[in-house]
Amino acid sequence: MKMWFRKQPPEQQENNLVALINMYKQSGDFVHFHHPQSPQPYWVSYFGTLIDVEILHRDILPFLNKTAFTSLDGVKAALPFEDVLITSDLQKIQDDILQGSVLIQLDVKDATCLLVRAEMKKAREVTIPEEEYSVVGPKEAFVESITTNLNLVRKRLPISELKVKEFTIGTLSKTKVAVLYIDGITNEENVNTVCQRLSDLQFNQILDSSIIAQLIADNGHSLFPQLIDTERPDRVAGVLAEGSVVILAEGSSHALIGPISAMELFNAFEDYYVNWQTATALRLIRIFAVSFSILVTPIYVAVLTYHYQLIPKDLMVTLVSSRRNIPLPPILEAIILELTIELLREAGARLPSKVGQTIGIVGGIVIGTAAVDAGLTSNVLLIIIALAALASFTTPVYRMGNTIRLLRFPFLLLADLWGLLGIAVAFIFLIIHLLNLTSLGRPYLEPIYPPRLKDFKDSFIRFPFSFQSKRPGYLQTKDQIRFSKKKASEVHDIDE
């Protein structure tokens, strides 16, 4: 078994506080000093890189120097902090110091000490969402601080029912993870599933919420995202009100949403900010784009390799003459071009944005034209592949875009093997896989299967809000009613 999956053996318990401090002293940034001149001598120890030195100098040291006290309780009373703790629990002391507490002792050999929180709070300013940018609607995005993120959510849901459950995960990273839900709406079962999975988690380092998403997914081997990650606090607030569970992690600018249905991968949150006709049209375009992106290259390969009969006679001239001089069979031609596009995408993603743009231009125009001119690829396929790549960018969930990119290859290989029938076989396996998938134990393909007509109101089509008086069925919420439909749909007579 891989070692890092297991809980690491707890570090050797220090016998006492002195030994602990001595061990810490081995680190260069650990500060441990004695203050003999003050009315009462005391010892202060902390990690200089973890605490906010200004707080120490402005708020802690002046107090200690001014007043005389005899016990730690006196110190506690004197300090203007609410987060002051007197303890002799070594484990607690160890953890707190590492999270930015200042340790105060009256004597070096004391086993009891006082801990004051003075951690350095450094986080990015709240900025505009980049992955899920929208033209209309709020433009705040999560940052890497869980406190700020919680604040962003709480601001949008100022109700006492919004509950936050905290976990600390990761034997090395000690990441603070928060589970958010609204009491009375969210199904307890979903919350319990999330909490159970989080507390069962054995991993050393949680650097981002996406790691959690992979670790607690129902099927870890699936290509499909089973939890949506979002950087939009408005989306989080929205789904919380619908009855979903949200996971936030310290140091991650993405929140996880679950349970989800596959349809939600096509929903941008912007859909709720535009009128329903536009939103519906956009969703249908996205669904079309995704199926187009997956299927079009395999269909090209299948038709050109096996089913010449299918091509209408007027299209025949264009297709055959574009391929006349190409030395490669369609499958190789397609795979080479697909790989080229993937190369461009990867190169663009790894480079700073300005250079990335150049790569796009160089790749798109120069390589494309040159390849056609040199007779390596047909221009029809070039158009198809470029369109397919473009279509794969329409998914609002970034992770889904990656899924589509990869999904194309098994389809391509099967298309090369059995033509359209191969595509059908690949499609069958895809359907079975999707039917098997669950998100936090809820069926993934809902509302298609199990069929729930009521949930179609916000899947392929976004009906107007007056139709959305009930929460989505797949979340199995405790309180189904969102608002009273009767009041909303009251019909007034003319001029009344």
Binding site: T305, Y306, Y308, V317, L319, V320, N325, L417
Partner: protein
């Protein structure tokens, strides 16, 4: 352990499927798609087949390649043609199949079988009879497309215009296999640099028997199907003629005396517009006269045509099916015996809707 076995089995299945499941590829640019095929008569058990294949060039021009081979079975000629061609010859894109009149006279049964048995052949394929050698007809290049597509466009266009009745492979096979109908095919002819539709070739079973005169073609079509865009040219008394276009026809069949010898009464309703007229004025009287004469002439043509059908014992219009659909316990043999003596009357009712923008 169990999981490992599972993964191994799945991998092996995928591997085997990929290794042994391969099927024959027909990559678009590595095949020669025959677009037209023609059959000529050599002697009693030999035929000559000519296949036209478009040669698509990288600059989007389409050339023509013709191959000729002769053998006993049409399938075998294809293999012979395959031997001549640098690319595999496939017939999934066949647009037109032509039979020379000679072949058609000797029966096309065997040749048709290869068309109906091969699943790759389109049901919308046009079958036609050609006056003279199909070899010569197909060897020429017409228009800017390859001969096959040119011919199919030609026939299709004429069918849409109502000059020949719609027939495709399906309808031909339906008639050919039917006990109650006999097939007919468009007859084409090469004239200099062009090909034109000459008329309709009538078959008895699989033998060509006669072709329909051009002036009978209109009433033939009107009896066969509901016309949408027919055209009819009428000669009037004093060397004047009138062209009636956009003719919309409806025919109603009535069969009486089913117990003994059935009698068939057909009423044809025509609605058309005058497009050309060499006379002086088109006033009410004149139009009435045109109408009368048109009705009379069509009735006369129809009667002559049907009489000739009965004489030859062929039934391309499908009177048999009309009688069958009205007879309980229809007996096929009795109908066949009766057919030459069955009384078939046609009544035409013409309406002139418009006469253009001048009087």
């Amino acid at each position: 352990m169990k999981k490992k076995i599972k993964i191994a089995v799945v991998t092996i299945i995928i591997f085997f499927a990929y290794m042994f499941g391969r099927v024959q590829r027909q990559i678009l640019d590595d095949i020669n798609m025959a677009s037209a095929v023609g059959y000529d008569y050599i002697d009693k058990d030999k035929i000559k087949a000519t296949a036209v294949m478009p040669n698509y060039k990288p600059d989007k021009n389409v050339g023509n390649e013709t191959y000729t081979a002769s053998n006993e079975i049409s399938k075998k000629t294809l293999t012979k043609i395959n031997r001549q061609s640098s690319r595999q010859v496939v017939n999934g894109k066949l647009e037109v199949a032509l039979y020379s009149k000679e072949v058609a006279k000797h029966g096309i049964g065997e040749l048709v079988d290869s068309l109906q048995r091969d699943p790759s052949i389109s049901e919308r394929l046009f079958v036609a009879v050609a006056e003279g050698e199909t070899h010569e007809l197909l060897n020429k290049r017409y228009g800017d497309r390859d001969t096959g597509v040119y011919l199919s466009m030609l026939i299709e266009q004429n069918m849409k215009e109502g000059i020949v009745p719609t027939t495709n492979l399906h309808q031909f096979l339906n008639d050919y296999n039917s006990h109650l109908r006999d097939p007919f095919l468009p007859l084409i002819e090469q004239k200099g640099k062009e090909v034109n539709l000459k008329g309709i070739a009538l078959f008895k079973d699989d033998h060509y028997v006669k072709n329909l005169r051009q002036d009978q073609q209109f009433i033939f079509q009107a009896l066969l199907e509901n016309l949408q865009l027919g055209t009819y040219k009428l000669k009037l008394k004093d060397k004047e003629f009138v062209a009636i276009e956009n003719i919309n026809s409806k025919s109603r069949y009535r069969v009486v005396n089913l117990k003994n010898t059935p009698e068939i009464h057909i009423q044809v309703k025509l609605r058309g517009i005058i497009r050309e007229y060499t006379g002086k004025r088109t006033d009410k009287k004149e139009i009435e006269q045109i109408k009368k004469q048109m009705e009379k002439q069509l009735e006369k043509e129809a009667a002559a045509m049907i009489r000739s059908f009965q004489k030859l014992k062929i039934d391309p219009i499908g009177f048999g099916n009309h009688v069958r659909s009205r007879t309980r316990n229809f007996r096929y043999q009795r109908w066949v015996d009766q057919y030459p003596d069955v009384k078939i009357g046609v009544k035409v009712n013409a309406i002139i809707l418009e006469k253009g923008v001048v009087d």
